[in-house]
């Protein structure tokens, strides 16, 4: 039987709070419900295993940074950089999230139902089977996928047009897929648009279905929708900039 542990975060500083979560995992908890979270940072940082942590409230900065395995579900918003340098596991945010979501993430999934701030998916990278996935239900701000080196960044624009500009500045790996058309003027140097092929659609369909299931959405219209795929113009965006002494 699944072991559930409840923790009340009301008025608790992040260090003792995270110690309680860590201890619960060490003691074999499968599910940890953290109530009354109000901006405590670093929840799930560096945690291993496959427990599920349910955050009730607003998660603070660097949620699930360096995390390797667990699932974190936030019933609320998340602050700066959830999924920062995350290795594996899953972060599901039912609200919106701040800047630098999934910064340097190298594996696992970050799903945000609402909007994200600036620099979403910045410097995500992949290696062999580790391929990070960031899906945003709403919109994203400027510098989406900046310096992106690998993985998949999907923006669904469920709540209106996607506002991102300067998309894929310095991108040298991975792919950014945005529902609907993207104006050329919104692309940054180093990024180029490609039409979504049937093969691409087949690859993103399971991700869309998983996202839709997590948030109770109807997946099929999204799977069939029109998408723009943005990829690096070159794997070496800086190769032409330098000469040797």
């Amino acid at each position: 039987m699944a072991k559930q542990v409840k923790i009340d975060a009301k008025g608790v500083h992040y260090t003792p709070l995270n110690q309680q979560i860590r201890k619960a995992i060490e003691d074999g908890a499968d599910e940890i419900v953290v109530d009354n979270v109000l901006g405590q940072r670093f929840i799930g940082n560096g945690l291993r295993g496959n427990a599920t942590i349910r955050v009730k409230g607003v998660a603070g900065g660097d949620l699930a940074m360096f995390m390797s395995g667990p699932t974190v579900i936030v019933d609320g918003n998340a602050e700066h950089a959830p999924g920062n340098t995350m290795d594996s596991g899953k972060v599901v945010i039912h609200g919106s999230a701040g800047d630098a979501v999934a910064h340097s993430m190298r594996g696992g999934k970050v799903f945000v139902r609402g909007d994200i701030g600036y620099r979403g998916g910045i410097h995500m990278k992949q290696y062999e089977t580790q391929r990070p996935i960031l899906v945003v239900g709403g919109s994203a701000q400027m510098f989406l996928g900046e310096y992106m080196a690998g993985g998949l960044l999907l923006v669904l624009g469920l709540d209106g047009a996607v506002k991102a500009r300067e998309i894929g500045s310095g991108i040298h790996g991975g792919e950014i897929v945005i529902r609907g058309d993207v104006d050329d003027a919104c692309l940054a140097a180093g990024a180029k648009k490609l039409p979504l092929t049937d093969e691409d659609r087949a690859r993103i369909a399971p991700v869309i279905r998983e996202f839709a299931a997590d948030f109770g959405l109807d997946a099929e219209p999204l799977v069939k929708a029109n998408y723009t795929r943005i990829v690096p113009a070159s794997a070496r965006p800086f190769a032409g900039k330098y000469t040797w002494e």
């Binding site: 992040y14 290696y127 310096y147 080196a149 790996g173 794997a235 002494e245």
Partner: protein, 505 residues
Amino acid sequence: MSSNFGSMPLRYRISIDREQCMECGRCVENCPYGVFRWDGNRILINSRNCTACHRCVTYCPRDAIMLQEQPCDYRSHPVWTRSVRESIYNQARTGKIILAGMGSVSNLPIIFDHLMLDACQVTTPPTDPLREPVELRTYLGKKPSKLEFRQKPNGDVELSTELTPNLMLETPIMLGHMSYGALSLNAHVAMARAAKETGTYMGTGEGGLHPGLYPYQDRMIVQVASGRFGVNIDYLERGAAIELKLGQGAKPGIGGHLPGEKVSADVSRTRMIPQGSDAISPAPHHDIYGIEDLPQLVNSVKEATEYKKPIFAKIAAVNNNAENVAAVARSGVDAIAIDGFRGGTGAAPRVFRDHVGIPIEVAIATADKELRKQGLRNEVSLIACGSIRESTDVIKAIALGADAVYIATAALAAMGCRVCGNCYQGLCSWGIATQRPDLVARLDPDVASKQVANLIHAWTLEITELMGAAGINSIESLRGNRDRLRGYMLDEGLLEILDVKSVGA
């Protein structure tokens, strides 16, 4: 479209004394740059490919090979120097930023060379280090501002202040951060073994930790830089300490690129990126856009590693160094490494390498002064780096306020590096800055580690002698002890900044 420049004058000329040469062909085998080749039974020379790495000179059994630098003169001119002219020709041809290897080549005065050390004479006697211990053991990390004790029921007294983790060094010399990828695995293994043997630590640089270094992980300071290459929780937990790289003295304010050619299968595994792809480290950490974001990263790393190890930050020495250091000290780090403008690099834009930043001597002195002024000196240790060339640089850096130093180019030289500055070519003939298996195999980690350990031992002995001569028996009494320095031919303004008196005063 080609240029009308033709070929530039030779940088180096290689010649063979044909009387001495016995056509053994070791030069042909040893040169990876293609200077020598066989033409029948005669060895031909293409000096244009020469980097002055000295591999041929060293391995010629007859001393038949000679190298001459700049064999062709330009019209001499004090303003339009050779380097200025050749840079113009290069950029007129290419229209690009010029990259160069290793540290600054600017012929600016070196402050260390204008600081003289003290010794005892008749008013106080020197200490004889053969007879009396001179303590060099150094602890890096936060020191409590006060100690509290409690009395147990049986009358014994015990410490009640909770201490934060420190690194214990047997000598205040550490091996600085140079990544696996920029350097070969054999070079990394050699330095790691030397660090273990001499009781000190080594930086991983931003390249992850190769499994071949796991046996030495308790001697490794693992680096987290803006590219986050090779960084995961396993990496953080393996290190003895964690260093957040915020800047580099050779190129303050910009990031770095490891070219795809250097990302071999092994390097790709360690960095966790695809083979052959460029590894791009952005200029800032993109989760630090302001000084208030730095404590978040510091605390995030501390939370992830459960406050078990010291966290360092490395910054480049720039104009507002004192403010930078104070800000970093308030972010919660345990030590700050400051990299002066002569710091080394695999590759940096020439204009940054030679023109951006301030000297390490000034940066350490102003950092120490500012931290003391703000009551923060006990909160962080200071590590000086960026062209620490010999034991006297170490002792002078400590007297100016450092706790320890990082050496890097000096450690490479101890393994054979001739400071030719062609690290970026990936063809290092000494097997140090290359990933080509036949070249890497030239560096025997057993031999190279002994040489690096010898260098650290030798400097440690010299420091002990110099301290003994000055009547100082512990490194703590030397730290920030500017009274043991005198400035020779330094101007008044600089003496005031360094807080050092002039010779004779």
